[in-house]
Every structure is written in structure tokens, then in C-alpha cells.
């Protein structure tokens, strides 16, 4: 393992290792704080692979997963993470209840707060919504994706996957390809991976590339083949159906021709390059099945596994103060 990716955080005592009350984004985190969370998650990877997965450290803790936007895998991942730590997990599909009756987001926040939850996990379709709620509640808030803004646990699980498979994040050439403009996954990954000293290249047609992206210390490309040269990691993003057909790109097949990850294209990357995808995949659009299912190259299922470990780590760390863990109060 690369020395710079490990350990410095472990030497900071208690709260100093991660002084934040919430996890609303990767922005604002120091590299050593990111590494601290990855190191914490690492322990849970091993625990999750044993038969006795349960840990009771969050016993008596109420975790509310308030999802204002549809989600299956992230919600499930947070639910499993909470349950494995012994928390009482409640899922609120807010999108289908009060909001439709006209309740404002801050009213919902006040309601959640009044229920004396110990940790709230939020997904919302508007950028900044999670930060808005975090300001108004007394317990830690975890961002499970807000609009186009951030999806911090996804970036952490991606970084953990890369670190485990490649030995280090620092120095890796990571190519992120797809709908960068609308992707919170891309934003959080750009922040996390550059903070950990990876070289990040982002690839998209100009219609799906945000302005001034180079100021986030990444290199933009419109030519996927050029970007892939020497890549250690190729991270594909899902292209959403509403962006297809004349809106941002002419068609699915044209997108596949220019930006689809095929075996031939992947041969431009390093021979042992890792293939990643946050899922769900559009097979045959942004990624070919033969690449997605290649056990040597694809880390897609491992990402899902790391997701549970990362979320367990985040839930554990963020509730330490309220649980009175020594050095964290």
C-alpha cells in the first residue's frame, strides 16, 4: 500500500480525526479526514465477510433514512449498514407523503428533529437541500445524494475500492466518463480523488460538461480514446434516459459509439486497469456487458460491497459524540 494513503489520521486522537458534525459533502474535508473514514471502513469490510456480521454499537440509536427521491440500492445499503451496527432503522419515502401535501422541506426537517432521531440520512433532488436540513436539526446528517451537487459516500466507497484494488489512490490516473454535468457522483469523486492525489480526467460531450471544470483540478476531455491512454481506473457514469434523444446527445447509439466502454476501447488503458460504475448500468449504452462482467477488470460488485462498509463507518463515526465514545464527546 502507498504510504501516503494510510495512517496519519489514525494518530489523531478522537474527535480531532474527524471534527465534522455532518457529512454533507466531500467539499470541506481534509485529505487526512477522508483517509480516516476509509481506514474506518476497511475494518467493516472484513467484518462483513465473516458469518457474524452484527455489531451492537448503535443499539438504541434511531436512524432515519429520509429519501425525497427514489432510490433502491443506496437506501438498501444504508439500511443494511445501520442494521448491522444494531441501529433502529426507519425508512421514510418522503417523496410520496407529506411533501405532496405541500409541506416544506424545513417543516419536514422540524418533524424529523422532533422525532429525536440520532442520525438522519437524506437524499433529495435539489442541490443544497441536505445542507439546508443539516442546519436545522440537532443530530448528524448524512448526505445520500443531493441534486447535482454531492454524493459523498459514493465517492468514499469508490476511493476505498480503488485503494484496495490498486493499493493506493495517490498517483492513479482515473478517468470518469459520462454525464458529468448532472452527476453528483462525478462531483464528489472529483473532490475526493484529487484530494487523495489521484490524476483525474473527466470525459463527456461538451453538452454534458460543466463550465470551469478544470478549476476542480481535473482535466476535461471530449475524446474518450485520448483520455483512456494509460488509465489505471475507468469510472463510467450512467446516462439518464431523459438526457438522450436530442436533449443533450443525439441518440443512445451515437453516445455508445463515442463514449461506450468496449473491450477495444479499454485496451487503450493500462493492461490491469480497473473498471467501475456506480450503477444501475445501461448495458450496451455506456458500458458493454463483456466489460462490466469481466471479473479481472470490473470492480462493480465490489463497489456495492464497499458501499455497506463505508456507510457503516460513517454512521459509526458521526454518532460517536452522541454515544459518548471516549475522546469524541
Amino acid at each position: 500500500m502507498h504510504a501516503s494513503d494510510h495512517s496519519p489520521a489514525a494518530q489523531l486522537p478522537g474527535r480531532a480525526a474527524f471534527p465534522h458534525r455532518h457529512l454533507t459533502g466531500i467539499a470541506g474535508l481534509q485529505p487526512h479526514e477522508i483517509i480516516f473514514l476509509l481506514d474506518e471502513a476497511e475494518q467493516w469490510v472484513e467484518v462483513n465477510r465473516t458469518r457474524a456480521k452484527s455489531d451492537k454499537r448503535l443499539e438504541g440509536i434511531t436512524q432515519i433514512n429520509a429519501f425525497f427521491e427514489n432510490s433502491t440500492r443506496t437506501l438498501l445499503s444504508f439500511e443494511i449498514a445501520g442494521k448491522r451496527l444494531g441501529a433502529d432503522v426507519v425508512n421514510m419515502q418522503v417523496g410520496q407523503s407529506s411533501v405532496k401535501k405541500g409541506e416544506t422541506l424545513l417543516d419536514t426537517a422540524a418533524t424529523l428533529n422532533a422525532m429525536r432521531s440520532d442520525v438522519i440520512v437524506i437524499r433529495h433532488g435539489s442541490s443544497g437541500a441536505v445542507a439546508l436540513i443539516a442546519d436545522k436539526v440537532d443530530c448528524p446528517v448524512l448526505n445520500a445524494g443531493d441534486g447535482w451537487h454531492e454524493h459523498p459516500t459514493q465517492a468514499l466507497l469508490d476511493a476505498l475500492t480503488i485503494r484496495r484494488r490498486r493499493g493506493s489512490v495517490a498517483g492513479q490516473r482515473v478517468v470518469i466518463c459520462g454525464d458529468i454535468l448532472h452527476s453528483r457522483v462525478a462531483r464528489s469523486n472529483m473532490l475526493a480523488l484529487t484530494a487523495l492525489a489521484a490524476e483525474v480526467r473527466v470525459v463527456a460531450p461538451s453538452t454534458l460538461m460543466p463550465a470551469a471544470i478544470e478549476r476542480m483540478y481535473v482535466t476535461p476531455f471530449t475524446d474518450f480514446d485520448a483520455a483512456l491512454e494509460g488509465a489505471d481506473v475507468v469510472m463510467m457514469l450512467r446516462v439518464q434516459n431523459e438526457r438522450m434523444s436530442g436533449g443533450y446527445i443525439p441518440s443512445t447509439r451515437e453516445f455508445h459509439m463515442r463514449y461506450g466502454l468496449t473491450p477495444e476501447r479499454l485496451s487503450r488503458a493500462a493492461p490491469d486497469a480497473l473498471v467501475m460504475h456506480p450503477g444501475p448500468m445501461n448495458r450496451g449504452v455506456e458500458i458493454d456487458s463483456s466489460v462490466a462482467d469481466d471479473p479481472e477488470r470490473s470492480a462493480i460488485t465490489e463497489q456495492v460491497e464497499m458501499g455497506v462498509a463505508v456507510r457503516m463507518a460513517c454512521l459509526d463515526v458521526l454518532t460517536r459524540a452522541s454515544r459518548g465514545v471516549e475522546g469524541w464527546a
Binding site: 424545513l106 442541490s127 443544497g128 447535482w148 454531492e150 453528483r184 470551469a212
Partner: protein, 406 residues
């Protein structure tokens, strides 16, 4: 009724700065400088404080008497984006009366019915009901053919067209200016060029038709370049800006601060600098508050869901005086931007300290320090991006037609 203001620093956009007295008889200015003070006049000793024309705020979205009074504003041009829209003589007439007795409201009628950009509104009838101009409202008229009809018809009615300069095809669904801040925050954003595109089209149409055109807010370097060049060619164009666009860049929206969610959105630093240069070189004709108070139900939302707009009338003068203190413009030019020019665009005989002019006056202490406090602001809604900012310049008195307000 006669009132003599004594020992004042008189600031007039037309005649400059002088020291002296000013006499009001009835509702008009009767004498300026040195004159014999009538024995029956009420004497108000100003001890060197500034006496200037009361502000004319061009393009507010709400009749907010308390905020105007606090800000030294005696007259407002009211935008047509009301409920109901100012596109009918009865509604226009009612709007014109809505500020009495403390505020003159000059309605700016809708240029098209319901501001929908489809059919011409009854401009002449609305003008006879009190409208002083017509406007496209918060939005842009997408059809060039319709905009041309608006301009030629308004020209026939001798009305200025107040236009919103943002190409809706680029700005639709966006809340920010494209750039690093919007990218980091993941906000839907439009390129700043959306403004120049709209200006270019409307300028060409105004030039061709000979109509009078006022862009309520111009905020980008490319936009100012177009206006500057058009003015040189003799196009009858004027433009305005708000203190927010002069003093803040898009960085003010960091942390999803919805109080800095404005329309047009805040621009980057280079455009802000271009705006300051445009004030200095005379490209900008008007500084207006853009007063658009929004309650917490419109602002305490995620940024993309919040409504654009800020409360500005109460802070317009204090924030603008900073331009004088920074040496950007002299104070008499500031009062041209705040009073004389907006009055001219609305066809009002006011905004200068001339004998025979209406006695709309403001007394101020330009150096008096205070702190903007959103919670204690006068008027409706304290949604200001300048909360807690220390400023200088306090209104000590406001007179409308010679009568003290407040």
C-alpha cells in the same frame, strides 16, 4: 406653506455640489443658493448635511412604503409583474394610487397581455391610466417578431420599453451563471452570454425602429460593450444595474445562500469589474434597488427551488454611496443615477434641484455609519444578501412634494 432648508450641502445632478439654502413653496422648489428667507417660512437648519433630490427607484416589484421611506425613495416605477398583471387600465390606475400618500407609484405597464409575449397590451389606454413606460417584466420576449411589434408600438405611444435582458432559450430552468461556483454547487446554470445575446437582438430592433429601450439590468462585460457601442451610434438606449450586481460576484451564492439568488444571477468577478467600469464611464444610466422582497416561504428552500429576488429599497442609497467614497464617481453623478436619469426615462419632471421642480427631497448624512440588519429592516421581508454589512450613509429626512414623510 414655505420651508427653508438652511446651510446644506446641495447636491444636484444637473448643477453639481454647492453650499447654501433651498426654499420650498407649496410642493415645488422656489429658490436655491442665497436668497432672502421669507419671514413666514419654517426654517430647518441642516448644519452642512446633504440635501439632494429624493430617489426615483426604477423597476421595483412591490409597493413597500416603509422600505422606500427608509431608503430616501419618493417615487418608484412599479414593474408589471403583479397579481393581477398591470395590463389593464383599471389595474394600472389602482397601482398608481397604491402608494399614497407617502409614495408616488408610477406603474410600468405590461408590454404584452399577461406578460405572455403573445399579444400587444393596450399601451395607450394604460398610459392614459397612469403607466409611464411598458415592460417585458421578469422575462424575455422570445419571439423577435413580437419584440419588434412591442418596440414600434411603444414608439408610437411615446413610451420607453423596459426590457429584461436574458435569452430565455439559454436561461430556462437555470438559477446561476455558468462558472466554477455553479459547477461546484451542482446548480443548473446558464452562460453569461445569455445576456449579451438578448441585448444584441433588442438593440438591433431598437435601432431599426427608433424606439426608446431601457434594459433594467445589465450585468456582463459583453452586455456593456454592446450598450456602449450602441450609444455611440446614437441608439436611444439606456441601462441600469443594482448594487448587488456591483458589489457581489457569484461567490456570494456559495453555501447555497438563497438571499443571493437573483435574476439575472450574480456574475463572476470580471463581469463585476466591468460593471464598475461601466458606472465610471457613463454606460450605466440607472442604479435601482431591484426591490423584490421575498418571504421565507420563497427563500428558505433549496437554492434551485427558491425564488430569485432581494429586498433592496432600504439599502439602495447606502450601498450606492460606497461608489462615491471609493472615488468611482462624484456624488452629483450618483444622484443622476439614482434620481435624475430614472425620472427622465419615466418621463417625470423631477430628480434635480431646479427652481420649479417638485420638492421631492432627501436629507442625508453621507458619512453616518450603520449596519444592515435583515431582522430589523424596514418594510417587507428582510431578504438581503448584505445582512450584517457595515455601511455609511443615513437618510435623515424625506420630503415628497414639500411634505415631510415619516
Amino acid at each position: 406653506m414655505k420651508t427653508a432648508f438652511l446651510n446644506a450641502e446641495l447636491v444636484c445632478p444637473k448643477s453639481g455640489v454647492s453650499r447654501g439654502d433651498l426654499l420650498v413653496e407649496g410642493d415645488t422648489i422656489a429658490a436655491i443658493g442665497s436668497f432672502e428667507i421669507p419671514s413666514d417660512a419654517q426654517r430647518i437648519e441642516l448644519g452642512g448635511k446633504t440635501l439632494a433630490p429624493a430617489l426615483v427607484d426604477l423597476g421595483v416589484f412591490a409597493v413597500d412604503k416603509a422600505a422606500c421611506q427608509a431608503g430616501g425613495i419618493a417615487r418608484v416605477g412599479l414593474m408589471p409583474d403583479q397579481s393581477p398583471v398591470l395590463d389593464d387600465p383599471g389595474i394600472v390606475r389602482r397601482a398608481a394610487l397604491s402608494g399614497k400618500p407617502v409614495l408616488w407609484v408610477h406603474p410600468i405597464a405590461a408590454a404584452t397581455r399577461a406578460l405572455e409575449g403573445q399579444d400587444l397590451a393596450e399601451m395607450a389606454i394604460n398610459a392614459s391610466a397612469g403607466a409611464r413606460a411598458v415592460a417585458t417584466g421578469r422575462g424575455w420576449i422570445a419571439s423577435s417578431g413580437m419584440m419588434r411589434k412591442v418596440l414600434v408600438y411603444a414608439r408610437d405611444c411615446d413610451l420607453t420599453v423596459v426590457a429584461h435582458a436574458e435569452d430565455g432559450g439559454l436561461t430556462d430552468g437555470t438559477v446561476a451563471t455558468e462558472g466554477e461556483t455553479a459547477t461546484r454547487l451542482g446548480l443548473p446554470a446558464a452562460p453569461a452570454i445569455a445576456e449579451a445575446l438578448a441585448i444584441a437582438r433588442d438593440l438591433m430592433l431598437a435601432e431599426e425602429t427608433g424606439a426608446r429601450l431601457h434594459f433594467r439590468q445589465v450585468t456582463t462585460a459583453a452586455g456593456f460593450d454592446l450598450i456602449r457601442a450602441a450609444k455611440r451610434r446614437g441608439v436611444a438606449v439606456t441601462c441600469g444595474i443594482t448594487p448587488a450586481h456591483l458589489l457581489l460576484s457569484d461567490i456570494a451564492t456559495s453555501d447555497f445562500r438563497t438571499y443571493a439568488h437573483l435574476s439575472p444571477p450574480l456574475r463572476d468577478e470580471s463581469d463585476r469589474q466591468a460593471a464598475l467600469a461601466a458606472v465610471r464611464d457613463g454606460t450605466i444610466d440607472v442604479i435601482a434597488s431591484g426591490h423584490d422582497p421575498r418571504g421565507p416561504e420563497a427563500k428558505r428552500l433549496p437554492f434551485t427551488d427558491s425564488q430569485p429576488g432581494m429586498s433592496g429599497a432600504g439599502t439602495l442609497l447606502a450601498l450606492s454611496l460606497g461608489l462615491v467614497r471609493d472615488g468611482l464617481i462624484p456624488i452629483e453623478r450618483l444622484f443622476a443615477l439614482l434620481a435624475a436619469n430614472p425620472a427622465r426615462i419615466l418621463g417625470l419632471e423631477t430628480g434635480t434641484l431646479g427652481v420649479g421642480m417638485p420638492a421631492d427631497l432627501v436629507v442625508l448624512d453621507p458619512g453616518a455609519p450603520w449596519q444592515i440588519d435583515a431582522v430589523r429592516m424596514a418594510g417587507r421581508a428582510g431578504n438581503t444578501p448584505f445582512d450584517r454589512l457595515p455601511v455609511q450613509g443615513k437618510v435623515l429626512g424625506l420630503y415628497k412634494g414639500g411634505a415631510p414623510i415619516g
